[in-house]
Amino acid sequence: MKLNLVAFGIAKDIIGEKNLVVDYDVMSIAQLKEQLCKDFPEFEALNSISFAINEEYRLDDFALTANDEVVIIPPVAGG
């Protein structure tokens, strides 16, 4: 399905841009993560990688919907 990826921090550096539209054969956050790590192996090296949809963290089993805006959240470091 078509997904609108948004990347912050090091995720933006890895993907090379802030916004990326992809068409992936994935149903869940877990599958999206797997696919992203295939396309951008540098994600494997991160401490963690999380995802948010509608400003909420979404866990591995969260079901994606076509055209979702999925925000890629690399390890946070506020404060």
């Binding site: 948004v6 912050f8 921090g9 090091i10 550096d13 090296a45 991160l46 401490n47 948010a52 400003e55 909420e56 963290y57 925000v71 959240i73 690399p74 390890p75 946070v76 470091a77 506020g78 404060g79």
Partner: protein, 139 residues
């Protein structure tokens, strides 16, 4: 309004935060102020750059503030976070909490900064003389 949440490109002010949480029946006010450190692992840091996923960061900061109000009976809570380029010693974050009893203010304030560092989508890049690094990104 009991909570004041802000992500700001401008300098943060401890006085504004302590004034906001001041309340006639407060037993104690605790503040945490995080400033930019001049080194990491003995390596000299020139400056920091903070980036936020602003709408979600504000939403997560609100959740933290609400948890502080509920768990510690806080009277007022402020969480202000700076973004953009910060020099050494500049204030990156201020958390202020007022509670009816003193001990709760410390606990709540520490909970708030600990949780902020774990969940709020803000990223920090350290700029060195010979390069730059996204903090905490790699093991």
């Amino acid at each position: 309004m009991r909570i004041d949440i802000k992500i700001s490109k401008d300098v943060l002010d401890p006085k504004i935060c302590s004034d906001f949480v001041s309340h006639p029946s407060t037993g104690g006010i605790a503040l945490f102020i995080g400033t930019v450190r001049n080194s990491t692992n003995n390596k000299k840091v020139l400056r920091l750059e903070f980036e936020a996923y602003e709408s979600m960061a504000v939403s997560e900061m609100k959740k933290i503030a609400k948890a502080v109000v509920e768990k510690w009976d806080a009277q007022r809570v402020v969480i202000h976070h700076r973004v953009g380029v910060l020099d050494i010693e500049e204030i990156a974050v201020i958390i202020a909490v007022s509670t009816p009893h003193r001990k709760a203010a410390f606990e709540a304030c520490e909970f708030a900064i600990d949780t902020l560092k774990q969940v709020v989508p803000i990223w920090k890049k350290e700029i060195f003389e010979d390069g730059e690094v996204w903090v905490a990104a790699h093991p």
